[in-house]
Each structure stands twice: as structure tokens, then as C-alpha cells.
Symmetry: C2
Subunit: 327 residues, 2 copies
């Protein structure tokens, strides 16, 4: 009796997923400031590894977030690589590099557009308490700010991705009603956001919570899982299993961070993002394409570690170091 | 339009899985020796948390593995709890506690039976090179030793679980032909082993490799995934996603280790077992019963940490500590 074919066919996995690398923004914003030229070098190393979508910077107050100072310079340095406009830099693979920026408000959006990024990211929280602590606004105030950003971007034909933090729970309110999260998603689309990403800010997502939010979204807006991005944190070591479960549920776009950079500096190793190389390693093994070359990604990881000056949380890197020590 | 029901129904998850806690054996064998009375205290704490199957000790050479010295004493001390015979100790939940022991050979099996354990575990590697390094025997020699152990156990009506290490790959041979792994499983059944567990000794498993081995097993022996145990290591942070994928493929029995104890002392945090509390936390959330109470398990984890004198790799514990520091 012949063995049945192994996955992905048996498991009905997609042929590919797309990854937005957020390490230079979500990762480095929590670190001691790295000079713009070095951040541009890291972005280039990621692009060379095959990352096609990179959240390179945020245009926030340089006083509030010193690690993100010089955002326009980072974009200019990377774009200068071959003079491509709008943060786009053609690569040997032929596909276009999209540099994106997080913007907190209209002023940030203006600066990002002037700098020449390809798309904007805005954030809002499904948790009223978290939104207040993070940006000192009510959810209604955040929606109005986002509407103004989206209006500006629309005039430039530019995409705006709304990242909904605490979509699967909050340290303040606990689990948040999936219907409320879906309702917020609907309002973000009405406000003019072209894209939508659910973020698991404190690492409390599970396959059940993912299913509940995705189901509520489809019921409320008709939007399917394949049209949603997912931004996972690895606080409880569940980021990879959640990415897997989300992929099974139809999600095709993920935010990840090189080396698992990110999270609170007060809880080392406990709160970082899903590590890009951990997801790429898993997907490589099961035959789901990402366009990213793991070996080149690990070189970028070495650079990132040098820039931040400490070990990274990503498990693939520490496993390779462990085996290097053991043999 | 009402939201569709969330998992587990939608995902067709099982109502329950069984967990064999291996921390007192697979975990503590890699640590500085802990006195038998303290190891018995840890086993009792695990039993009190609802663990019904605990690999408490191994009956190996005390000179070769000093951390496992006093194995019979550990079994006696736990069993004495209420005088139950054969390592069985009835609990408030009414179900029986099964203390099991790893035995490397016939002499170890005799000692384990004399000590009164409920079942035996034997190991063999799908990797000839690993088998040689681990027990200095060829696979044929290991099979003969296991046959003699299984013969002895059969005379006592005692179960023998054959754990096949490196089932999904080896540091020496790389990926191992699933047909070979299935062939070894068939020979272990012929040798008299009642149970079978595939071990991912170096953390190289993936959903694809799991599917391939399970398919080859069913093709070769007719044995289904629900009749196989899985012993996962978290070297690359993939233990939890592999457990999830295995559960989807029909596996219903897992080895886990409190706090993720285990693995090489030369690569800290890089090689431990799948942490019991991480799996229980995930399964609690999605509604798959384990019979284990997470809060009591975390208390046992504190005890384990005190006994070994260092932080544990399990992510649930470090996440809770992180939040305790953050708020």
C-alpha cells in the first residue's frame, strides 16, 4: 500500500503567503537608538533576503520615540540604492520593494508622503483602555484622525493599512467581544482604510480567538480571512501556532520581525514579535512560498543583533548557535 | 447574519488528549542531582495538578546518570502517599496515577518492576549514528535488548512504550526516510512493545514530516495516528505548532515536561521539551480537555524552578513573570 502524499496538498495549505517585515520599525523602536544609516543598512539586508514589504520607520515625535528619529533619512538612504521613486527599489528578483511607514496622525502622514514611502500604516486599539494609554485618545478620536490620514493618502493613490491592536484580548479588558472588533474593522473601512490587520499586541491569541474574530468579520462585513493581515506577538510562545492556525483559516498575510525583535524591554524575551526566520523556516519546510531566503535572512539577523547589542528572541537563530556550540 | 461557531467544533478537534509528564525524568536527568525526596515532592505536585501519567525516573547506571540515582526511593516515596500498590496512587479525581520509568536494559527493567512502577519506557533511535552515541549499540542490538525487556514486562501484564528518537530527523543523517521509521515501529511491535511514541529529539519536526511519518506508519502497519504518542522538543520554537498539527492529524497522546525542562545543558533554552503548561494553556483555550489544572501546574513549576536553581524555558511561566514585573 503506497503512502499517502504528505502536506501541503493533504493539508490544503496555500502555495504562498506574503510577509511584511516590521523589525526596523516595531523592533527597533523598543531599542536604544540606532543611527539612520545603520537602520537603512538593515532594511537593505532584509530586501536582499527577499523581503518585498518592509515597515521601515514610523513618523512619530522624535522626542517621544528617539529610536525612530531620522525616518525620512532612512527612506532616502534605502531608496537611493538605485534611485527608485516612492520608496520602491527594484531588485534582482524583479518584484518591487515596498517601504511602508507607521504614522500616528495627519502630520506624520504628510512627512511620510514627503519622504516617499509606498504605503501607510495607522493603528487603533480594540481596547479603549489600551488606546488611551498608547495614544491618549478615545477610539472615536483615533477614528477621526485615521479618516484624515486616509483622505490624504487617497489623494496620492496610496494604500493605508489599519492595524487593530488588542484584537484578541487586552491586558485591561481581557477577551474583547469579536463582534466589537469586527464593528471597528467596518468603521475603519468606512474611514477609507484600504487594508486591515489584526494585531495580537500582548500575545493572548489562540486558534479559537482567531476563528472567532475572523468569523465575526466575515459575518459583519463579508470580508474573508484571505483579505486580512495578522500581526502576532510571542509573549506566551504561541505566535507560530497561531500563524499556522490562521493560515489554515485562510489568512495569507503576516507581519513578522527579524529575530523576533520588539516587545517590552522590561520583560526580555517575553514579548517580541513572531520572528520572521521562524515563520519562514516552518513555511519552507512545508512548501509554502514566501520569497524570502532563510540563509540571507539569518545574515540580516546577525546584523540586527550587532546593531541592538544583545541576543535576539527568534528561536531559529538561537538553535543554530546552540548547535554551533554543541558540535 | 449570525457568526459561525468557533473551534473546536469548526476545526474538528478532539474532546480530550492525554499527556504523559516527563519532567521528573527527561527534565531532571540533565540537571545537577536533586535528592529523591525532593523529586518525589515534585511528582506529587504534578499529580496534585491532575497529571495522571508521570515518567518519574529512569533505572539507569547511577554512575553514568547521577541525577537519576535513588529511582526506587522516588517511586516508594510517591506510592507511600496512600499506600497504593504498583506506583498507583488514587486521587481525589478518582482516576489512577500511573508512574512510569525509562529502562535501558533488562537489569533496569527488573529494578523498575521491583520498585513497583506501572509501565516501562524503552528507547531506540531511528538514527543508527545517534543510537550508537546514546547507548553504544547498533539498532539490531537495541531491538534484542528491548525484546527481552518486553518479554519480562509481558509476564507481569505490564505495558511497554517504545520511544523512537530522531523519528523526524537526526543531527547526523538529516531527514530519515519515513518508511524506515515505520519499519522500525513494526519491528518494535513484533518485539512485544504495546505502545509506540515518536520522538523529535533535536526539534527538527514539522507538520510535513509528522504527516509523512504517520502516513508511512499507517501504510506499513495499519496503526493510526490516534494510537501513537508524540514526544516533542522545542529547539527551534516549533514544539507547540507541531503538537497542534499532530492533533489535527489524529494524535491523542503527548509527552511534555513541566517548565520545558530538558535538553542539552550546553545550549540553554534551546533544546528543552515541549512545556506541559504551554500545551495545557493552548488546549484549555480551545476547549480540549487534559485533566490538568493550569494554576496548580504553575505552582509545581515554581517548585521545579527552585529545585533546579534556574529559570525554566516554558513560555507561559516567563510570560506571567513578565506581566508581574510590568504591572
Amino acid at each position: 500500500m503506497p503512502a499517502r502524499p504528505a502536506s501541503p496538498s493533504r493539508r490544503n495549505l496555500p502555495p504562498s503567503v506574503s510577509i511584511r517585515e516590521v523589525g526596523p520599525r516595531d523592533g527597533l523602536q523598543n531599542e536604544a537608538p540606532v543611527p539612520p544609516a545603520e537602520r537603512a543598512r538593515l532594511v537593505r539586508a532584509l530586501a536582499d533576503a527577499g523581503c518585498r514589504s518592509i515597515e521601515a520607520v514610523s513618523f512619530v515625535s522624535e522626542r517621544a520615540v528617539p529610536a525612530m528619529a531620522g525616518a525620512a533619512e532612512v527612506i532616502a538612504l534605502v531608496s537611493r540604492g538605485d534611485g527608485g521613486p516612492s520608496g520602491r527599489r527594484s531588485t534582482s528578483g524583479g518584484s518591487e520593494l515596498r517601504l511602508t511607514a507607521l504614522v500616528p496622525n495627519l502630520r506624520g502622514a504628510e512627512r511620510a508622503i514627503e519622504a516617499g514611502v509606498a504605503a501607510l500604516t495607522v493603528t487603533i486599539s480594540a481596547s479603549a483602555a489600551y488606546n488611551d494609554k498608547n495614544v491618549r485618545m478615545t477610539i472615536e478620536e483615533s477614528l477621526r484622525e485615521i479618516e484624515s490620514v486616509a483622505g490624504l493618502a487617497a489623494g496620492q493613490g496610496m494604500a493605508v493599512d489599519a492595524v487593530v491592536s488588542c484584537s484578541f484580548g487586552s491586558p485591561f479588558e481581557g477577551e474583547i467581544d469579536p463582534g466589537e472588533v469586527a464593528g471597528l474593522a467596518a468603521r475603519l473601512a468606512e474611514a477609507g482604510c484600504s487594508d486591515l490587520t489584526f494585531a495580537d499586541t500582548t500575545g493572548v491569541a489562540s486558534p479559537r480567538r482567531l476563528d472567532a474574530v475572523l468569523s465575526a468579520l466575515e459575518a459583519r462585513t463579508g470580508r474573508a480571512a484571505r483579505d486580512v493581515g495578522l500581526h502576532l506577538h510571542d509573549t506566551r510562545g504561541t505566535a507560530l501556532v497561531n500563524a499556522w492556525a490562521a493560515m489554515e483559516a485562510g489568512v495569507r498575510r503576516f507581519d513578522t520581525s527579524l529575530g523576533g525583535l520588539g516587545g517590552s524591554p522590561f520583560a526580555p524575551g517575553a514579548g517580541g514579535n513572531l520572528a520572521t526566520e521562524d515563520l519562514v523556516g516552518l513555511l519552507d519546510d512545508v512548501g509554502v512560498a514566501t520569497g524570502i531566503r532563510l540563509s540571507a535572512l539569518l545574515k540580516a539577523g546577525s546584523l540586527a543583533r550587532d546593531l541592538v547589542g544583545h541576543a535576539l528572541a527568534g528561536r531559529t537563530m538561537s538553535a543554530l548557535e546552540g548547535s554551533a556550540r554543541a558540535y
